[in-house]
Amino acid sequence: MLESLQPIISLLDSTIRISTPLIFCAMAGIFSERSGIIDIGLEGKMLLSAFVAATATFLTGSPILGLFAAILASCSASLIHGFACITNKGDQVISGLAINILASGLTITLGIALFSRGGQTPPLGAEQRFMPIEFPFLDQISFVPVLGDLFAEVISGHNLLVYLSILAVFFTYYVIFKTRFGLRLRAVGEKPEAVDTAGISVFKMRYQSILIAGMLCGLAGAYLSIAHGAGFGREMSAGKGYIALAAMIFGKWNPIPTLFACLLFGFLEALGVRLEGVELLWIGEVPVQIMQALPYVLTVVLLAGFIGKAKAPGAIGVPYSKEG
């Protein structure tokens, strides 16, 4: 009987692994979009920082330095976005798209130039990665049925960044809803003129927000290449930035529901992989692609107002100018 629980436990385990970068990116999206800046460039920032994390780690041997380099790279991309959309009042969607394509080309080009491995970075050894952390008391608890396995497989044994991602959710929630900065951030995305007339700089608020988004995307990228993976591979973000975007919309720009959306989307992917080639009773084989498409379909349905209404921040996508 306990044997039959094993697949479920390993499913939950991989759900968490898959969801981690989604969570970082979706929280980044919340910071950016809550301040009124559309962030299509999550994907690109994640990809870029994944590359930089692996490269810096390989060159220095330190995953911590790799992590900081990743954050730096991602923040630079954020600053380009800010320069285009906040300072120059350019189109936020176009700018985000530019960052995605730029990241795609840049990572491969630099990768080939640096390592001549077709765009990949050299593999990283265990000491160059964020390795799984085993919780204490594992042995003492492992004899408890179900709970013991659950603890050992699902809760314990992930790398540092997985736990950081959960922390990031509470951080996001706390900052956005409980602090002065968060109040101003939400206001600047809903009604910038109210912030301006309250004597607060709209530009400064928006730049700060997208920089935080940059940091979070940096963590997502580092997770991909120096924690979950052992090195960078071409296009390794593989659309995760867009799924995170969908999760953020699905969570209605709120951190806690967005966390669940990320877990749901992660679970769907994990389930899809697990069900591949498996005949289910009555249903037959469920194509993995249905699981892959489901996050997007659900988001479209939600956006169309068929299941509740996802309302974007009031001033999103609109550059702010005083005398307009």
């Binding site: 120059n88 350019g90 394509i101 990241a103 080309g105 919309i249 988001t299």
Partner: protein
């Protein structure tokens, strides 16, 4: 987005876009320099690769064809102030239209008839993939940018499913359909030349290029000569004025997205009917996204789009040459250039306006005083 009122048109439509393009190329050149290669050598390799070698021009124009279709698709939506990011998915589903038509009819009907039906199929399927986001924007207020992005991924998943599970050639490992019957397809130009007794180097350039040119002219007529085009442009410039003029906003949005999707769908005829002769995975290869860069650079005008497509066609074709000539730069360099072009010609399109305005006023002022 709007052009300056201060400076004359030749500056805002001619000089500033060229300066933006130049900036993008300069930054690209800097990258190449930092990598340790000579940017000027890279340029000459690309130019040779795109125009000089036998068949190079054919390849360049073959890529150009794809970009004309996707560029026009994005541009039409822009005219109605809609941002259609879904060209990639619409082109992909257009391929499904081509594939299904050919697989169903090529055993029963004459080749040229199947080809015509397949062309229609590409347009109709692409259109459907545009209509849904259009409808959701017009009637349910869903943001078209997000919906079209989602539809790209849905299209990708759908096509993988169909190609792996449903329309794959039985006994075949790679996810692609059987070859279309002989006689189906658009003839390649070098074959045509041979038939006419001319000797041309082999290239994938096919009749789709001609169709792209015809469609470009049609696009111009549609946007600037028809009542519908008039309504689209009114809506794009001013929704309030469009309502004042009695234009049906929702209807116009939906039709624009249908045509836009149909235009993107035409990529499939170049790729499937002109080259591959079967439906296969991932044949759109990012052409839909490049269409955005093409439309931005071409300023939503078919002539500009033709020039921009030619540039990107040359970049793509010339880029492949980089692989042979350099050890440290490859064709992916082109992606980098493309990203920079979108950044400078799109997001930062008006960055230079104040500067150029100031210079112009200064010069013009002195001129007046003299």
């Amino acid at each position: 987005m709007s052009d300056s009122n201060i400076i004359p048109k030749w500056l805002s439509v001619g000089v500033i876009p060229l300066l933006n393009l130049l900036l993008a190329f300069c930054v690209s050149g800097l990258f190449i320099f930092f990598i340790g290669e000579n940017p000027f050598k890279a340029i000459s390799v690309m130019i040779k690769g795109a125009f000089y070698y036998p068949g190079a021009i054919g390849y360049t124009l073959y890529y150009t064809t794809n970009f004309i279709f996707t560029g026009l698709a994005v541009a039409l939506a822009f005219h109605a102030r809609l941002f259609n990011i879904g060209g990639e998915g619409q082109a992909y589903i257009g391929g499904l239209g081509v594939g299904l038509t050919c697989l169903i009819f090529d055993q029963y009907l004459a080749g040229f008839l199947v080809t015509i039906l397949a062309i229609l199929g590409s347009v109709i399927f692409g259109a459907v993939w545009g209509i849904i986001p259009g409808y959701l924007q017009a009637k349910r207020g869903s943001h078209i940018v997000i919906t079209t992005i989602m539809f790209n991924f849905i299209a990708a998943a759908l096509m993988v499913y169909l190609l792996v599970n449903v329309i794959i050639e039985p006994g075949q490992m790679s996810p692609e359909t059987r070859d279309f019957a002989s006689g189906v397809g658009l003839v390649q130009i070098h074959m045509l030349a041979k038939y006419l007794g001319l000797n041309m180097a082999m290239s994938p350039l096919n009749l789709s290029f001609g169709i792209a040119l015809i469609v470009s002219v049609g696009f111009w007529f549609l946007v600037w000569r028809t009542k519908f085009g008039y309504e689209v442009r009114s809506l794009g410039h001013s929704e309030t004025a469009a309502i004042y003029a009695g234009i049906k906003v929702s209807y116009t949005i939906i039709i624009v997205m249908a045509i836009s999707g149909g235009l993107a769908g035409l990529v499939a005829i170049n790729e499937l009917l002109g080259v591959h002769n079967k439906l296969l995975l991932g044949f759109t290869a990012g052409y839909g996204f490049t269409g955005i860069a093409v439309a931005l650079m071409g300023r939503n005008h078919p002539f500009g789009i033709f020039l921009a497509s030619l540039l990107f066609g040359a970049l793509y074709q010339g880029g492949t040459e980089l692989d042979f000539e350099f050890s440290s730069i490859t064709r992916e360099m082109v992606l980098l250039i493309q990203g920079l072009i979108i950044l400078f010609s799109g997001a930062l399109a008006y960055m230079l306006n104040p500067l150029v305005e100031n210079i112009y006023i200064k010069y013009y002022g002195n001129y007046n005083n003299a």
